[in-house]
Structure formats: structure tokens, C-alpha cells
């Protein structure tokens, strides 16, 4: 009798383990810490994609109510997906979209924009990725929503989707 209970318990234990591990298979194992404080955007200097003139960011982020800083690259597939949403956001007059081209070749970047349209008012180059690190970014694509006091009020890691567009629209109203 005791043996039977033991065997049943062991079987249940293995089934339990199996279910827990099986469910865990689909979970994302990337942990992103939440940062509460709204941080000021740092100043950075970089070359512009088309004119190749060096521009400082403090001359860029003036005279608009809200800004979007979008880190993108032509080799990044999710960037392709989110591009149509950026084009949508571009119709908003109180929003200025600045692009940061991450570790990309300028020829490929220009091709990408020719194909899909250009929602950016200015595109700065980040050829070695150091500007992104100094901004506190993880990689491409990544989007910062910045207000007129140059504070980062929202940080989106990964591509923008329909739901996030609605959130942004609510925030900038």
C-alpha cells in the first residue's frame, strides 16, 4: 500500500515538472529591468545621413512639443515592420521624428528609405553604436518619446505596434 502511494506521488511529481517546464518553453527569457525615473536626454554629436554635416543634438531638439528618437537600421527586420507606424506618426504635427541609424552602411540606409519612405526629419549616424549605449538603448529597433523639456517619457524596446501607437497618441494629446 505504501509503495503504491509512493509510486503515484513520484508520477505526479514528474508530471508536475513536465508541465512547468513545458509551459516555460514559450516564455521569453529576456528580463528587462524597469526604470522609473524620467531621464534627461544626453547631448550627442554626429553626422547627418544625407548631408554628412556634423549636428549636435541640442540644436535638433528645439521648437516642437514632442520628439521621437527612433534607433533603426536597414539590416534589422523588425525595423521594416515598424516603419509603416512611424510613417503614420509622422502625420502628427506636434511630433518630430529623429532617426538614429545604428551600425549601418549609408548606401543601404538610403535604399531602405527610398523603398519604404522617410518619416524622419533628421537622421543621425551611429556607426559604432556608442551613441546608443550612451542613450541607454539595447539595440535596434528602439524608440524614445521625448517631451519639450528633453525628458525621456517613454522608452520602447523592440518594434512599435498598433497598441503602442495608440499609447503614444494618448500621451502627446
Amino acid at each position: 500500500m505504501k509503495n503504491k502511494i509512493l509510486i503515484i506521488l513520484i508520477i505526479f511529481f514528474f508530471i508536475f515538472c513536465f508541465i512547468v517546464l513545458f509551459k516555460g518553453l514559450n516564455n521569453s527569457n529576456i528580463y528587462i529591468p524597469k526604470l522609473k525615473s524620467e531621464k534627461l536626454l544626453i547631448n550627442f554629436k554626429s553626422k547627418e545621413l544625407f548631408s554628412e554635416i556634423e549636428i549636435s543634438s541640442d540644436k535638433l531638439f528645439i521648437d516642437s512639443d514632442f520628439y521621437i528618437l527612433n534607433i533603426w537600421s536597414s539590416w534589422c527586420l523588425p525595423c521594416r515592420d515598424e516603419h509603416k507606424f512611424l510613417m503614420q506618426l509622422n502625420k502628427n504635427s506636434s511630433l518630430m521624428i529623429v532617426g538614429l541609424n545604428y551600425k549601418d552602411k549609408s548606401i543601404n540606409a538610403k535604399k531602405f528609405l527610398n523603398e519604404l519612405g522617410n518619416p524622419y526629419s533628421t537622421i543621425l549616424l551611429d556607426t559604432d553604436g556608442t551613441i546608443s549605449i550612451e542613450l541607454g538603448a539595447y539595440g535596434v529597433p528602439e524608440t524614445f518619446l521625448i517631451n519639450d523639456e528633453k525628458k525621456i517619457i517613454k522608452k520602447i524596446i523592440g518594434p512599435i505596434n498598433e497598441q503602442l501607437i495608440n499609447e503614444i497618441n494618448l500621451m502627446i494629446k
Partner: protein, 122 residues
């Protein structure tokens, strides 16, 4: 003879501290990158990883060292940018106090149990 030994000890001590003080920028940057977690490829340090994120991070660390930042300043800077999770060394705060205090508590209770047994035997 005693004085001779004393001098040898003194010389040895100064040699060791000399070794430590000559930590170059490259060694320091390696040391720092081993203590920084790669946030994109989790489970690896920046030093181990070859992802875009890690490579850029190494460049930023080198740049900061060239500008004259100390090791602690760089950790502080990165914590400020990416949160506490980026270093492998958790701070003592509201969320982590159990982590820090629990081993001490276990050690103390273990010690108490041993002490009681000793007293009983005596």
C-alpha cells in the same frame, strides 16, 4: 640578521603594491567588462559576448577610461543608464536585503545549534 629579514619583508610588501598600482587601461577595461551583464544575450558578461550591444559597450568603457573616469564612476554611470541589474554585484536595498542577510542568519543559527550541542555534551 633580524634587520636583514625585516628589510626583505618590507621590500616584498612594496613590490606587491607596485604590481597592483600598475593596472593598465586594458586590464581595467577587461575587469570592468567582466563585471557588466550583457542585457541582450543574458547569462553572459560583456567580456564574453560578441553581440553588437557588447561590442559597443566595450568601446564606451574604453572611451570613458581614456577620459579619466574611475572604475566606480563607470559602474555608477551604467547603473544610472540601464538600472542596477547591469552589474553582477547587487546593491543592498529594499529588494535585496533578504539576499544579503539570509546567509548571515543561516550562519548564525548554525553556529547557535553547534554551540548548544557542545554545551549539552559538556
Amino acid at each position: 640578521m633580524k634587520i636583514f629579514k625585516f628589510f626583505i619583508i618590507i621590500i616584498l610588501i612594496f613590490n606587491f603594491s607596485n604590481l597592483n598600482s600598475q593596472e593598465t587601461d586594458i586590464e581595467l577595461s577587461t575587469k570592468i567588462s567582466k563585471n557588466i551583464r550583457c542585457l541582450v544575450c543574458q547569462g553572459q558578461s560583456i567580456y564574453d559576448s560578441n553581440s553588437d550591444f557588447a561590442n559597443s559597450m566595450k568601446m564606451v568603457i574604453d572611451k570613458k577610461l581614456k577620459e579619466g573616469s574611475t572604475e566606480n564612476e563607470i559602474y555608477q554611470y551604467l547603473k544610472n543608464q540601464y538600472g542596477q541589474w547591469i552589474t553582477y554585484d547587487p546593491e543592498f536595498n529594499k529588494k535585496t536585503y533578504i539576499l544579503w542577510i539570509l546567509p548571515l542568519l543561516i550562519f548564525l543559527t548554525g553556529g547557535l545549534i553547534i554551540l548548544r550541542k557542545i554545551i549539552v555534551i559538556k
